[in-house]
Amino acid sequence: MTDSVHREERTTGAEGVLITSADLAGGGVRGDDPDIRGKFGVFGGRYVPEALIPALDEVAAEYEKAKTDLGFIREFDHLLRTYAGRPTTITEVPRFAEQAGGARLLLKREDLTHTGAHKINNVLGQALLTKRLGKTRVIAETGAGQHGVATATAAALMGLECVIYMGAVDCERQALNVARMKLLGATVVPVTNGSQTLKDAINEAFRDWVTNVDRTHYLFGTVAGPHPFPEIVRDFARIIGVEARRQVLELTGRLPDAVAAAVGGGSNAIGIFHAFLDDENVQLHGYEAGGRGAENGEHALTLTKGSIGVLHGSRTYVLQDEEGQTIESHSISAGLDYPGVGPEHAWLKDSGRAVYHGVTDAEAMEAFSLLARTEGIIPAIESSHALAGALKLGRELGPEATILVNLSGRGDKDMGTAMKYFNL
């Protein structure tokens, strides 16, 4: 195990993460920060136009203050409890687990939060930060529309102007979420350049930010992008793992043998992994979108098939050709359809602390339908990648194993895809 090395590296410059009441209730674990330049080992950093550096510095400085400010922490805590619906429960799924070699499967129910996905944790934290920064407008990118809906929700709650950039292709395949964002008072801008998907929406959001930075916060949706976004988004998402760790201990009397999560940009996975980083005997497994299969090139296997490069302001694993041009990803799940990944995942992969695998569209859709039929829970297709991974992992680890799975979102938004896929 390379964990001791890993631990040593990631404490460089550490000043600790944001500690919520959930940490305190659970006897919280020590957190870790990227170093002063926002590096996780060789990953992370800032590769952005100089014009944005002052804004990133401003966000980083304000967050440093906020995370130890009791007033800020209380407000965030309060919103998580009374608005987002935390803590979310864990649910044991024995009928589903019959297909997992008899291993015990526990689902962390982020699907039960307000707006139906883990994204709400991050947006509430960043919307509060936006107000502290004295800014009145938020912008965000969205792929499936979940982060867009969550951002529009937080903006409505806090009276912020909200503009969402969404690839024109995604606008079409997620029309329902476009309508939700509009109803919440956001302006949705379809992005028609490049591949017209999530990566182009991020490019366009950066262009808006550099133009309107004096009154605008870029409410970044995942643990990728330039420093300090990977750290901030992780800190607002890590309550998932903090709660789950305590809940599993209470239910089973011990820690799980493994934690499983889907990885696109990686925020739900970091959110549930982070509280377990120091628990050396707990395996961490991330599942990327294998799309139509690794062989034919139509996938989003950034960590498992990609190479190290720079995308959207951060050094990380990227799907790119031999000249550094980004290769378009493919997944049946719009939320995992991204050719980059958060730098902390790149680091966890290289240090060996977490292991990453691919799950194909077909495997994910099978798990999607199996959970619905055996447990009465319709998961998001994103989360179904983690479920499919957990089925395989259970068969490997055997009937004595307990696996905690992050059910990061609910599947209502995916009904159109499901109808087509299963001929419903």
Partner: protein
Amino acid sequence: MTTLQTVFEKARAENRSALVGYLPAGFPSKDGAVAAATAMVEAGCDVIEIGLPYSDPLMDGPTIQDAVHRSLLNGTRISDVMRTVEGVAASGAATLVMTYWNPVDRYGAERFARDLASAGGAGTITPDLTPEESGPWLAASKEAGIDTVFLVAPSSPDERISRVASCCTGFVYAASLMGVTGARESVGSAAEGLVKRTRSHTSLPVCVGLGVGNGRQAAEVAAYADGVIVGSAFIRRLLDAPDEKTGLAEVRELAYELARGVRR
């Protein structure tokens, strides 16, 4: 090879600002880019920036995005960029490559610097490479004997300007406004102040880019900057022309107008 130092010395001797023109390699075609850049030099551009087309140009506005997208569809590769530099450098202009960082990172910093120097390139402009991450690139460029140009922006506080300028050789690129590339009605009012602030941290020439599109604006900027950078306005001419030949004539016409501007 013409160096940036020679260019600015010559311009200073003529009591004028230098004119810098931008075009992406492979646009409007591989040979068309060399022809257009050569026309720009013949009409008065002192420096040419050849853009290295990249799939995710997050600093660029719609005009350059469009040109770069077409160039990539034409199959432009880094070897084509180097050939373009070779062709343009032959015209006598100091020739730079403007590139996002990832293609250089992937190609290998040392190899890129070496190949660019052999093609007759004078240096690079790297809009998303921050001083913090620039160590390997500065070393490779120094080794290959090419210049490194970085950007400052109106939002940059003095300590950032000082830090960025200390990484620059050749000149410092001052972005005239907060925003992406593209011609605008007026050049940002922040530009003059930024040039002044930059000068207090460096003895290098300071050139202004973003938003300059005609002779009047070029004259306005030339009054306070050592160089005037124009990109999108040239590309607009090529995009709007019915064929390459007409586009070439339009580009030459615009370069004349701008060259008169920097001499006013």
